[in-house]
Amino acid sequence: MAAVIETVELSKSYRKHEAVRGLNLSVQAGSVCAFLGQNGAGKSSTIKMLLGMVRPTSGTGSILGHRIDREEESLLIRQRVAFVAEDKRLYDYMTVEQIVRFTKSFFPRWNHDFERRLMEQFELPPERRIRQLSKGMRTKLALLLGFARDCELLILDEPTEGLDPVAIEDVLQIVVSLVAEGTTVFFSSHQIAEVEQVADHVLMIDRGQLVLDAPMDQVKEQYRHIQAVFPSPVEERDFRLAGIETIRAEGCTVSLVASHNLDSIVEHVRMLHAGSIDVEPLSLKEIFLGKVKARS
């Protein structure tokens, strides 16, 4: 499979603040890649660099074969990539119908049937001015304008913000159908449950650096929480092994998060004469909190 998005040591600094530090990404064609991180972790800066809206301070990257740091190619990128921004900025004075007509005039590949179907499914009122739309409606409209472009790559920044659970499920279902047709989706989200549901690859960014880059199934299969109780007090340094991500030792108990190498870790814990050893799977949310907390 080919990489649709690729970056090499991509970095961005704003004066003294390093927003993105040496990012090496590779997103494969046909995948749904989730991009997770706290507010201010560098997600939006990264997305803006990918789209050629912001110039990298150093490093480089490409989208669909176009270099992101060359001005003459950024137009091509914006023609071929559908992007739904986090702020869902739209022309407030237009009606829903007007902005749809206005937007589609720029895109020859516009999918008219899909547009009509989404207008109905999202129950968007054609005559209403954008200024008078609820937050959820705005999000739906912004998504419609992105989805109907029929692009091979969709970049969505917080695509379900402000939506109720039914609408979220609708949006995820549309994403699923688009992927079945071969579209690649790169999306950032705070809603970890929805990420777990549809993403096949997870990227986590913290303070501008990548802290996790793995297939979702691998994360689910290999990340484990290990809790062990020992006859006498233990210390963190007893557990510095390959595959251990976090260690919390309190008296006679230790709580570990392992990302791989589970068998050897359990064996090591057993050798330290643990009285009981519990191994449990971890949810993505727990992994996320662990990654972020471990560094703060």
Partner: protein, 128 residues
């Protein structure tokens, strides 16, 4: 027919769907020759990634549970083809390994385990 998986359970979604299909076969809800939903159809119904459905069908095909007929879709395989001898032996080997490990954890040593196995097998064959 299939239920939505629980995405935050810690069990990968593809494993959950595989279990559902196996369960459908075991309970007789689906039997040899029955067709499974298309990749896109199942992905849309369960709102899961189509690549996950592809992985499920591919793995179940390798395990002999499904048959992929190109251009037609995925079907439940007939039972006699459902597992090869090698796979049966490999599964058995895994059960034995796990069992031996359990006995070891209970404090039995190699000789004791060996004697128990041999006694059991000898008795088993005599009873036949």
């Amino acid at each position: 027919m299939f239920r939505k998986p629980n995405p935050s359970s810690g069990v990968p979604i593809y494993v959950q769907i595989k279990e559902q299909i196996r369960h459908a076969i075991e309970t007789g809800a689906m039997s040899a020759g029955d067709q499974l939903p298309g990749i896109r159809g199942l992905a849309e119904t369960l709102v899961i990634n189509p690549n996950t459905v592809i992985k499920v069908y591919r793995e179940l095909e390798q395990e002999g549970v499904l048959e992929i007929r190109h251009g037609l879709g995925a079907f439940i395989a007939s039972r006699r083809r459902s597992r090869s001898k090698t796979e049966e032996l490999r599964d058995a080997q895994r059960s034995v390994r796990e069992f031996v490990e359990t006995l070891r954890e209970q404090g039995l040593d190699e000789g004791e385990i060996r004697r128990l196995f041999e006694a059991e097998l000898a008795g088993e064959f005599q009873r036949r």
